[in-house]
Amino acid sequence: MRLRPVLPFALCGLVLPGAPAAAGELGIEAHGGYFAMSASNSARAVFDGSSGGGTFGGGARYVFGPGIFVAAGARTFSKTGERVFVANATSPVQKLGFPLEIRITPIFGTVGYRFFQGRKLVPYLGVGGGVTRFRETSDVAGDAREDSRSKGTFHALAGVEFGAGSFRVGAEGSWASAPDAVGVGGVSRVFNEDDLGGFSVVGKLVFSFEL
């Protein structure tokens, strides 16, 4: 895992004084939404002109009494496209028709703070890190190749949860970065894009209970 110096300072800032004391709360979450890749030129080249697609996943979080929470989870993004040829970053993208599939699976941990914990509407912020696994498979006339790699990642997120009782809904936006994960070959090298992160917007279903 690769954490940058900004992270400890951010965590310090999140520990707000004066939060009301409460019992711990465990939540199980399911996520579904949209992921837009930072390597947008590369993604647009091999996909259907878009740089993102659906993502889903899940996780668990534990809220300490004052509103501080820790969370862990995983999401996956998978999309099919085709191999292309691009001579350089300004050249036209020439589609070749050989199938290609990319799967990006970040596994992450988050620490953060939930404001107004205990109310119906709970905004929250968090930062964290983890590992992103990347797998690319393609097939050129029976010659199938797979490239997989894992890289440390860090992220920041903001969200809001709504509801009372055990079942809640929420929405969350996050930004993640996994530098030096790609860019060693293919169109990501042509476009000089090495970050496997991006922006995600997901809806959440939460089942929570007090411990």
Binding site: R83, A87, A141, G142, A144, G186, V187, R189
Partner: protein, 470 residues
């Protein structure tokens, strides 16, 4: 004045007539007999014997859900199966058949039983392998040059598209049966064009629409591009599903003018059929030391129209590239031998783009049965051509950058067929994927080999998100 490339000719195994003999041209423009080779005989590509598709004596038998152990045991016994192993899931069994009953009879009995869901031989599978295509043309095994560039794997990916045409600007192509009313010359279509599509060409030397070959160079060059393939006859061509356009700009002695070359380029690049311009590649196996603004502008016009122009680097073993190969919008092609070494005649220079097999008829490093590492294709019989006859064809061996250039032109046509239509991208795909030779660094080039030896399959495979060509 543009002229033919080095023309060292070996001829054997006539396709139509004459015995077994060989011609050799010692100089650039003056082919003359040099030695005689023995008849090389007939060579057939034998297919490998078929492998068994099932494991002998074994059946897979699945019973319907209601069948209990006793029912299964009785059914197997009745089918002549003394032993069976149950699978991990469901009532599936791998059954060993009694040899005396036989697999077919056991299978028949099982399939007639109500309690049997299905029964089938235990088939064999094999690892998935990259697609390749081995043509059945009997002299394909002589074409060491196609093996050198990985043609079989290339054909597994792409064989060309009839909507993509290569214009061969040369001495013409033996593409039609035609009696010239002006000269009385009888031209005949070469035998191995079965299924090959020819677009209407033009003869700029004689100013008519019959661009027939009154030499042998153009037919040989065109045959490397798209000789009929997998038709159990003669040799193969690299982009055999692409169309050809014969454009005659060189006379029967192999000479032409810049004006005619420029005319030929414009004709090919602007040829329209059904609202489409099918000529995507122009091959120029010709060149000279002087330059021409007229030709340069014609090349630039073709390039702007999306046409890839490929030309021979020249055969003088000198440190400069011939014109028009040296033009920036032309892919200049040098030659290597069967050992991937620069052919002793191939020109060098900073404009050299790539190299391809051009042959060395003085050697037989490939060990081919014709005894010389020429580039072998069909062609008019040179001795009959000297006599003014254009109706006898043979297996013709030539060497020169003229022979290397059509390898690259064919690759360009295949790339266009695959979807790389921009001429700059075609060139980049060819150069980036070439095998570096002569100590050139990865991603670099040198003046002897340019970016290196073309690797068609790699060029065709394109790029993934984070995967290079493979």
């Amino acid at each position: 004045m543009p002229r033919l490339g080095r023309a060292l000719v070996l001829a054997s195994l006539p396709l139509v007539a004459a015995g077994s003999w060989t011609l050799r041209a010692g100089g650039q423009d003056d082919p003359r007999p040099a030695f005689v080779a023995s008849d090389a005989g007939t060579y057939a590509v034998r297919p490998a014997p078929p492998r068994a598709r099932v494991r002998p004596g074994e059946l897979i038998v699945a019973f319907r859900g209601a069948a209990d152990g006793r029912t299964v045991e009785r059914a197997l016994r009745q089918a002549g199966i003394p032993a069976a192993r149950r699978g991990r899931v469901g009532a599936r069994y791998l059954a060993t058949v009694d040899e005396q009953v036989g697999l077919e009879r056991s299978l028949e009995r099982l399939r007639s039983m109500d309690e049997v869901d299905y029964a089938e031989p235990n088939g064999l599978v094999r690892k998935s392998v990259p697609a390749t295509f081995t043509p059945n043309d009997p002299r394909f095994n002589i074409q060491w040059n196609f093996s050198l560039v990985g043609a079989e794997r290339m054909w597994g990916i792409q064989k060309g598209s009839s909507g993509v045409a290569v214009a061969v600007l040369d001495t013409g192509i033996a593409f039609e049966d035609y009696a010239d009313p002006r000269t009385g010359q009888q031209f005949r279509r070469a035998l191995d064009w079965e299924g090959t599509e020819f677009l209407p060409g033009f003869d700029f030397v004689n100013n008519d629409s019959h661009a027939n070959d009154d030499e042998f160079h153009g037919t040989h060059v065109a045959s490397t591009v798209a000789q009929a393939t997998n038709n159990s006859l003669s040799f193969a061509g690299l982009a055999f599903d692409c169309a050809l356009m014969p454009v005659k700009v060189l006379d029967g002695d192999g000479f032409g003018t810049f004006f005619d070359v420029a005319e030929g380029i414009d004709y090919a690049a602007n040829f329209s059929e059904g609202g489409e311009r099918p000529v995507k590649v122009i091959n120029l196996s010709l060149g000279g030391e002087s330059s021409s603004e007229d030709v340069r502008r014609a090349v630039d016009r073709a390039f702007a129209n999306g046409v890839v122009v490929v030309a021979a680097a020249g055969n003088e073993d000198k440190g400069s590239i011939d014109f028009p190969a040296a033009l920036p919008n032309v892919i200049a092609v040098g030659a290597v031998d069967a050992l991937k070494l620069r052919a002793p005649y191939s020109n060098r220079g900073p404009e050299l783009s790539v190299v391809a097999p051009g042959g060395n008829c003085d050697r037989n490093d490939s060990g081919n049965a014709f005894g010389a590492d020429c580039v072998w294709q069909q062609g008019p019989h040179p001795e009959f051509v000297f006599l003014g006859r254009y109706d006898v064809f043979i297996s013709l061996g030539l060497e020169g950058t003229s022979m290397a250039s059509p390898h690259v032109a064919a690759l360009a046509a295949l790339l266009v067929s695959q979807g790389i239509t921009d001429p700059r991208s075609v060139r980049a795909a060819i150069e980036q994927t070439a095998e570096r030779l002569g100590g050139a660094p990865a991603g670099g080039r040198n003046d002897e080999y340019g970016h290196g030896l073309i690797q068609p399959a790699k060029a065709l495979s394109g790029l993934g998100f984070n995967q290079d060509q493979f």
